[in-house]
Every structure is written in structure tokens, then in C-alpha cells.
């Protein structure tokens, strides 16, 4: 029988620095809740709003897979591998921190807030050579169907990471359903509703809520309204 966990949006930790508002699903920075450390290999799910002209200064990471999904506005990225790039709504950015990387992210648009999801996944391989990649996705390809945006395979659809994980985005009209079959045994899925409401395994999950499901081969997401959601399939043990 499927195991599930529901995290309402209001249960998240809020860090409000004025120029940055970040809702943390899991413990992060100064938000610590021992009951909310991770969902399997998914360790961080931050829902960030960054004011125009502001940014995260140069800071390090190691041995972590870090994925950013912009929801609106632009983010300028610079890192210690000499990458300089801008990501916007419709893009996905990935960093394998491996042996160590420094980077900064900045919202250069003075008048526009940049909103994005910041996701960290534990890697299945330590001390890899750091890497950066970004990809522009075809947003139309997720209308009433699931669009794979991340996998463990370099030659598969979307970006790739060092973990047996698959991410999908879906943008569904009210009344339609998505069936998701888990790709690997022992994996679970964490669904984050970006907008609208869905029902999964009898649970209504609404804007910015999270819902984890595991010990099942598949599940169905019913769109109760027009909705956009992200499915993150990750190993439950790692």
C-alpha cells in the first residue's frame, strides 16, 4: 500500500530578508525542523522571490546536485568555472557541485522580482568534477501531458544529474488527469503544486503544497482546477 505525506504550503519555513523571501519545505539555513529534513534523496525545496537588483553573493557548494527552475523574471548566474549565463521562465539550470564550486546568482532587472524554485538532491557519486548546464524547455510540451525535465541520463530528455532521479513538469486543464509510473524500484515521488489544485491518492493538494508518495509503482494526479505542478522522483534510500 502506498505511503504518503502531505505538507501544506503554510507548514513551510519562511525566511524574509526584505530583498529575499524564501519558503523552505525542508530545513535550510536558519530554518530548522528536525521532522522536515528531506524526502528520500530530495534535501532542499526552496520557493524563492528575489527583488530586482539583488542577489546571492559568491558562495560555495560541494557534493550536491543543485537545480533551479525559474518561474518568472531572470537570474544571472556566474561561477568559478567561468560560466556566465541568464536563466528565465521556461529554463532549467543544474549544477553538480562535486569537488567544489563557487557561484553567485543575481536579478539584474531592477523593477522585476525573480521567482524560482531551488532544489537540492543528494548525489549518488561523491567528488565528481563540477559541472554546470542549463536548458530552455518547450513549455507547450507540458500542456495536458508530463514533460520530463531531468533524469540520470545525459542522452535523455531534459538535464541530467548524478542521482537516480527524474523530474517532470505538467500544466493540466481542470478535469484532466496525469498518470505517473515510477521509473525505479525503491523510488518515491514528491509533487509540488506550483499553481492550482490537484487530488492525489484522495488528498487535495493546492498551490505551493507538497505531497510525497512512495511504496507504489504509480499514482494519478487529478486536476481540480487548471494547474501546474512538478513531480520529483528520487530514491527513498541513498
Amino acid at each position: 500500500m502506498a505511503q504518503t505525506i502531505y505538507h501544506p504550503a503554510t507548514s513551510r519555513g519562511l525566511v524574509d530578508l526584505g530583498w529575499l523571501k524564501s519558503y523552505h519545505t525542508f530545513s535550510f539555513g536558519n530554518y530548522y525542523n528536525p521532522a522536515m529534513m528531506h524526502f528520500g534523496a530530495l534535501r532542499v525545496l526552496n520557493d524563492d522571490s528575489l527583488d530586482g537588483g539583488k542577489g546571492f553573493g559568491d558562495h560555495p557548494h560541494d557534493n550536491m546536485e543543485i537545480i533551479s527552475i525559474p518561474l518568472s523574471g531572470d537570474l544571472k548566474h556566474q561561477d568559478s568555472m567561468d560560466n556566465i549565463a541568464v536563466i528565465s521562465d521556461g529554463d532549467i539550470q543544474v549544477m553538480s557541485a562535486g569537488t567544489g564550486i563557487f557561484h553567485q546568482e543575481h536579478n539584474d532587472h531592477e523593477e522585476e522580482v525573480a521567482k524560482f524554485l531551488q532544489i537540492w538532491v543528494y548525489p549518488n557519486k561523491r567528488n565528481v568534477e563540477p559541472r554546470y548546464d542549463q536548458l530552455t524547455l518547450n513549455k507547450a510540451a507540458r500542456h495536458n501531458k508530463l514533460q520530463q525535465i531531468l533524469s540520470p541520463n545525459a542522452d535523455d530528455e531534459g538535464v541530467w544529474i548524478y542521482q537516480n532521479a527524474w523530474f517532470n513538469l505538467g500544466n493540466y486543464d481542470k478535469g484532466l488527469s496525469a498518470n505517473y509510473k515510477l521509473k525505479a524500484e525503491g523510488n518515491g515521488a514528491y509533487i509540488f503544486v506550483i499553481s492550482g489544485s490537484v487530488k492525489i491518492n484522495g488528498q487535495v493538494v493546492s498551490t505551493r503544497d507538497g505531497f510525497g508518495i512512495w511504496e507504489t509503482d504509480e499514482f494519478t494526479i487529478e486536476a481540480l482546477t487548471d494547474t501546474e505542478f512538478l513531480i520529483m522522483e528520487v530514491p527513498m534510500t541513498f
Binding site: S27, N30, P34, H61, N63, A97, T99, G100, W120, N127
Partner: protein
């Protein structure tokens, strides 16, 4: 306020400097860095630690040796090398809450 002694292990000098600065910002936390297994083993004879953090660049064999050496205290294998997880992983490992 109980003092907490932390051993941070990793081979990336700039990341190590950042981690030590962040850890030592906490008044009752005292962090020491090591970049080789030899240093780790020497420090283990000189000081008593409450928790070990394994950062970048430590190979599997050395990691196993460190875990064996410090089998009586928590050894944190993943903290992401920056400030994001650093404190939470230590609170969890030591089963303490932020002051």
C-alpha cells in the same frame, strides 16, 4: 551553553575557509579543519570532537577510515559545502535545537 567541537574535513581550501568561518561564528562552536587522513588521525589524538563533517575531496577509503576512527560520534557525509545545510545537519547529528 555547551561547547561543541567540530572537525571539518575537506581538501578544497576556499570552501574549508568558508565553512570554518561559518562554524566559528557560533559563539559556543569551535571548528577545526583537516585536509588529509593523517591530519584527521593526529587531531583525533590531540582533541575531543563532538561531530565530524566530511566535505569535498575525501576518497571512499579515507572516509571509511575516518568513520572507523570516529565511530563513537556522528559523522556527517552530506552538508553541501555551504551555509544552506551546515547548521541543520549539525543540529540533527547532535540531536540539539538552535539556541
Amino acid at each position: 551553553m555547551k561547547a561543541i567541537n567540530i572537525l571539518a574535513v575537506g581538501t578544497h581550501p576556499q570552501i574549508m575557509a568558508t565553512i570554518l568561518r561559518l562554524l566559528n561564528n557560533k559563539p559556543s562552536w569551535h571548528a577545526t579543519g583537516a585536509s588529509t587522513l593523517t591530519e584527521v588521525l593526529t587531531l583525533g589524538k590531540e582533541q575531543k570532537f563532538d561531530v565530524v563533517l566530511i566535505g569535498a575531496g575525501i576518497n571512499e577509503n579515507d572516509m571509511l577510515e575516518i568513520k572507523k576512527t570516529y565511530q563513537d560520534i556522528p559523522v556527517v557525509l552530506h552538508y553541501g559545502g555551504g551555509s544552506g545545510l551546515l547548521y541543520a545537519e549539525i543540529y540533527q547529528a547532535l540531536n540539539i535545537m538552535p539556541e
